[in-house]
Amino acid sequence: MITKEILEQFQKGDRKAYDTVYAAFSAAMYGVCLRYTRCADDAQDVLQEAFIRIYRNCGQYSLERPLAAWIKTITINCALTYIKQHYRFDLKEEDAYFDEQHEMELETENQEQLKKQLLTILTKLPDGYRTVFNLFVIENLTHKEISEHLEISESTSKTQFFKAKRMIQQLLEVERARA
């Protein structure tokens, strides 16, 4: 439970308040990191970088803003920076991916299992698809905002999103056929 006192202490850079904030938001932010990265190790790196940045910029946090949104923004920005720096973020050479066979088991009985399967599908996507899909579907950004974040054109963002959906659909159909 994040109280106002904790928020004020956090804003002043208090380490205990920061630990409390970490305990409250690290799981959700790790989930965000997992969605954007290829593997858990990369997600941990992003999470680490994000929370270091959160602590170092805690003075810039405004008490009027929701803390969760502020932290999520920083985490997503860290994830995007990480993707640009560490992944081959080439958005034009990924069509060949459709010619390959990708098998995916999709279990829908258990909600947690479903989440895991969907996460696995996301991690199977090429980096560009995954990033645009995440930003558009889950973060509810417009293609214009995505294009600004990723420094690509708006049409490229739309194309990437379209291809991402087509691939996900393909993977899901494979799974349905199997079922």
Partner: protein, 460 residues
Amino acid sequence: MKEDKNIEDLFRSSFEDFEVTPPVQVKGRIDRELDSGRYTRLWWIAGLLLLVSVGFSTWLFLKPVKESFKDRNVSVITDSEKQDEYSSSEGNKVGHTEGNKDNGSNSVQDQSAVREDAAKGSGSEKMGQERNSIALLHKKKTVESIKNGKLKKTRKRSARKTGNGTGDVWGSSGTVLLSDSGGQQTGEGATGETKNADKKNNPEQTAGDDNDSIAGKEQPAKADSSAAPRDETAPKEKLKKPKSGLWMASIYASPMFGTGLQSPKPLEELDEKPGFRFSAEVNRSLFGGYGVSTGVGYRSQSETYSRSYMSYDSIFAGYDSIPIYSGDTIIGYDSVAVYNIDSTKTTYSQANAIRTVFIPLYISRQFTFGDHWGMLVNAGTVFRFHTFKTGAVDSMLPAISLNKFSMSVVGRIHATYTFNQLVFSAGVSGGFDLKSPLTYGTTERRRYTLTPEIGIHFTF
């Protein structure tokens, strides 16, 4: 299109509250990163302090010798021509303005002679008469020299080399006494005696005559070294160099006892084994017994961190009847709950060793009680650089944070015994770590030390 929308909804709903607990190591890495960032500033401060201390020590070391004499009020005999000149000028400047005030002896003697006289009751009539008679002899000879026209020849030499009284005497043998306060005695010499003698013979003479030109301005030539006889009354042992100097090299050794693990978790334990520590330091006296110390040291420390977990294999709850007595008669039974808990305590531990090279920076204060005994007090900061040898990592133990640099606040108090230039000391050293080299998880730890310590010192 509808299916597209379904996919979006599927992902949106699934990941809306998607949470996965990150591994514990991530928090450890974040903490280390944040601490290292914080300690980067401390590194700069430590470096700056070190630079300042080294620079200050160098400056003190290279400081001109005569200033040291002034500071310490010590006398040193040297043969150098340069210091002859120094003696001459100092003697004229200081000696003739302040001369004759201390003990009234005005004799031809060095500083220590004056001290000795002072102890005996300097300025006594007898001594004064003896010395004044010598002074009168000097004056007589000097007057004769002037009459014989020797003044011109000797004046130049006198002014250049010694200038006056005692300077003449010791200058002729190539030794000169330097002192700041000693100027009262050393610089005065024959002319001072002459004045005193004159004062005795002419009681009306005012005190202002002490500053008269006879002493330093016009008369030095009269007190020519060639004319002045060697003062055989000056004790030879007074020409010795001082026994102790401003510097002190020290070696300290002590065992190490650390305490302190403040944790809200009752099943945690930290057992620190006794280690050892030694250091080599150098101290520079500055003023009034105060000084600065720095050096380098090494310490070894090993500790074992343990964390226990309780597992309850079975808990049996039952009721037992306890008879209620009234006198010797049982009047009823009371039902009491009885618990039988079968638990297992599993302890996980990790042994870690820490090797530390440290640089102390102390302010020191020395006290003396009598000729041999004294006390040495140091207080300051210690900059510590650590290397670690950690034990096997167990997943049941919290992640450890290794801090390669830390600081501690340390003080020591020693009783000292001085034997010639050697000083032996024994006392206690204590302090606390501003940050522990090793941190176990989020456990807060305040480590305090209080340990006996011995030291051996050499003054120079």
